[in-house]
Amino acid sequence: MSVVAPPEAPPRTGTGTRRREDTRLLCGKGEYLGDVQRPDLKHVAILRSPLAHARIRDVDVSGAMTLPGVIGVFTGAELAPDTGEFSHHLPMIPTLRQITWSVLATDKVRFVGEPVAAVVADSRYIAEDALELIEVDYEELPAVSDAEAGLEAEAPLLYEDWGDNVFLYMPGAHGDVEAAFANADGVLQERFTHHRISGLPMEGHGALGEFDPASGRLEMYVSTQVPHTLRTVISDICGISEARIRVVAPDMGGGFGNKAHFMREEVLVAVLAMRVRHPVVWQQDRTESLLAGLHSREQVHEVEVAYRNDGRVLGLRANFVVDVGSPELYILGCAPAIVTTSVVPNCYDLADYAFEMRCVATNKCPMGGYRGYGQPQGIFLMERVLDLVGERLGIDPVTIRRLNMIPDEPRPYVTATGAVLDTGSFDEQLTELLEAAGYDAACEARDEARSEGRLVGVGIAQMVEPTAPNIHALAGRFGGYEMAMLTVAPDGKVTVAVGTKSQGQGHETIFAKVAAEVLGISPDDVEVSDGDTAALPYGTGTWGSRSAVMGGGAVIKAARQVRDKMAAIAAGMLEAPADQIETSDGFFRLGEAAIPFGQIAAAAYLHTFLLPSGMDPGLSVVVGYDPGNTSPFPDERGKLNVAATYSTAAAAAVVEVTEATGVVKVHDLTIVHDCGTVIDNVILDGQIHGAVAQAVGQTFFEEIRYDENGQPQTSTLLDYMIPTFGDAVRPRIVHRETPSALLGGFRGAGEGAIIVTPAALAAAVHDALVPLGVAITQSSLSPPRLRALLRGRPAV
């Protein structure tokens, strides 16, 4: 008997949506970084530390220099005098260690994979041959391979001058937690652990640089989510004016937040291009990606929860220990953990919340952003807490959530941590989830399966997600706005440039739709370019589910300005007030009279005698768009509204555990999702499918492992397993559309499903294991981890 039939009516397809991007990508004609061609292109290979922690005594490159085909070999010490350094740009945080670092290690290496030297050669083959001829004399040091061990008094120190390994200490106190615990009927104490994973875009990082000494111009092609802000960083470190740097992000083979940081290697390529005076390219291979790309998620949470016997959670204390690996990463690897602390209250009325967080430097790959950005851990905490308190009190998961939920009124609702929620009704969203998931029937089927001795479980989870964030508080600079350029050409065709780089989300398609709707023309008449700093003054990039909200808002603003100018031209021709002119189907209309869109465009450029007196020729605008609502830095009580708006989601999962193997089968998954106005439901569903697959991957498959010496154990895709075809979970998706008050009504999408699904899967596995009395308090439920748990042993 199947507990619940897998939903057989899956993806809503069709509606005619074929993306703009598809044809070139399907035909192998996309232009990813590795496809960018330059005459005389030279190849960069990077020598990386084989040790987790060591002092560099000497680097001897003489052997490598003699290899035919080698153009140059560079060490950190050699580049340092002429090259600037990275920093986190956060001097305003007194409890953050202020460090600087260079493109290549100079005195010390702090993780396996840290870049030590670089070779430029005629081919990648020769460059990699040359790496083997470089001799590095290391003085090996004891390594810190675990954050909690790194806090112990006798732990080795990554930075001797710190005196400990605490990179960031951050306390927070909201409300009156002492009073909450004084009034409690009971206290739950729990420890939650989150394992280390990687976002793993199928195309790794990479950069191509070309410097023209005659003009002093540097052109960079980088597989980056943040081309404009990367330009600023390159300018700082290379000492070239931003006016002389162009950064282009070509087609990208995924990013998922891993490409939203400023990598040492990206700036190294710029430095090398200036040194060798040839165009140079570096493409990260998969081993480099797994050792020295970016890792995410690893945290330990110790929590104490004050509750009343009626199921109300009164207060929460949390102690977060975060393994940030080597801290030499800009944007700050602590940033996702700061987000974790802030989202803990989730969609619940929890005013009394206090925490301490320690981000610990360890001898592991830098921790950074990955889809969800610290939120899966925070949501996991609160959702697990509710289930565990409910279990103690005999209150079911639905009831305990309703008891603690933020009420429908008022809006906005200000959470303990300062989030100003503008969302729809959480209560209705939960009801919709239970109906869509057939929750009651699923629970009955579970009971029946359980009576047959099967380990079947049902779990639910909810989340509210700050989207379109302002990142001043995490990045020191770079805010939360976006820009757009919109030009109508003389033939009436439209070009839009945005700063939010697509990594597969279909931005060419959706921004064409957004612009076309305002202009009253067909999306086929709109071309979209993204990721080119020469096409737009500035942009903050694609991350934080911000592209629809910020990029879309900027496009709407730009399109409205151009439309209004065109309407004024049409009004002059029709001798009517501009506010009576309507735009639809490619015409500017006044009653029966209609002037084609293209005719107005021609007037603006070619027949300018037709323009109203005093109007400038041309139809092109550049706009900046900042919807406001956010604060750049926390207030004196540590409260911060980071997001311009908020999305919500809820998930219900039905799983079955096989006790002998530790394998979990997801029988059914329902996602209710509210990202405000939906631009394209097919693309949106695709985002949810992908986020669900990554949630399934992180829960049941993926784990970056290190041994006690800081040696990585997962350096290939044969060790680091991601889901493949047979592992696909087909979610049933329900869209609520509660428009935000921002331009377009968007709330932002792309991350909701990866934030909420891990908590729902954990709840379902927990429920499945009730007959065995095993509680789920860890994020990894891979077969080995789950088997260890079932056997009552500590996880491997």
Binding site: L26, C27, G253, R286, G506, G686, A693
Partner: protein, 154 residues
């Protein structure tokens, strides 16, 4: 250097390569067949898949000298912007690609399947395709697209 002659998308190709040169690099760098992508160079992700004598191979694990005398087919020999192959058409209609990095190899792997079995079941599709990894789509719409092709075959 070794001269290697083979058929590439139906046309004669000849390259002079070092014995150690990988087929993926030869295709991309010498023959401008850049639809084959280096996803892992460990033989695990399948993004570099091309067809050699009709069978899918990992071009990152094969030396170019091994394809002498064979027929090599890449995505550039399957469909073109004006004339997409039905598999390509279905992937687009079902939104079976996002970033597109894995997509050309998906098309080639599916092509081999459909040439052997025009009407595969979902289970067969999933089993056959399981050596090609995708990080964006969760596979849902790729399977939907290939099921549509399976239902429309001769």
């Amino acid at each position: 250097m070794t001269a290697v002659r083979f058929s590439l998308n139906g046309e004669a190709a000849e390259v002079d390569v070092e014995p150690r040169e990988l087929l993926l690099d030869t295709l991309r760098d010498r023959l401008a067949m850049r639809g084959a992508h280096a996803g892992c160079e460990q033989g695990a992700c399948g993004a570099c898949t091309v067809l050699v004598d009709g069978s899918g191979v990992r071009s990152c694990l094969m030396f170019t000298v091994q394809v002498g005398g064979t027929e090599v087919r890449t995505i550039e020999g399957v469909g073109s912007p004006g004339a997409l192959h039905p598999i390509q058409q279905a992937l687009s209609e079902h939104h079976g690609l996002q970033c597109g990095f894995c997509t050309p190899a998906m098309v080639l792997t599916a092509l081999e399947l459909f040439e052997a079995d025009p009407h595969p079941t979902r289970e067969r599709i999933e089993e056959w395709m399981s050596g090609n990894l995708c990080r964006c789509t969760g596979y849902v719409n790729i399977v939907a697209a290939l099921e549509a092709v399976a239902g429309e075959g001769p």
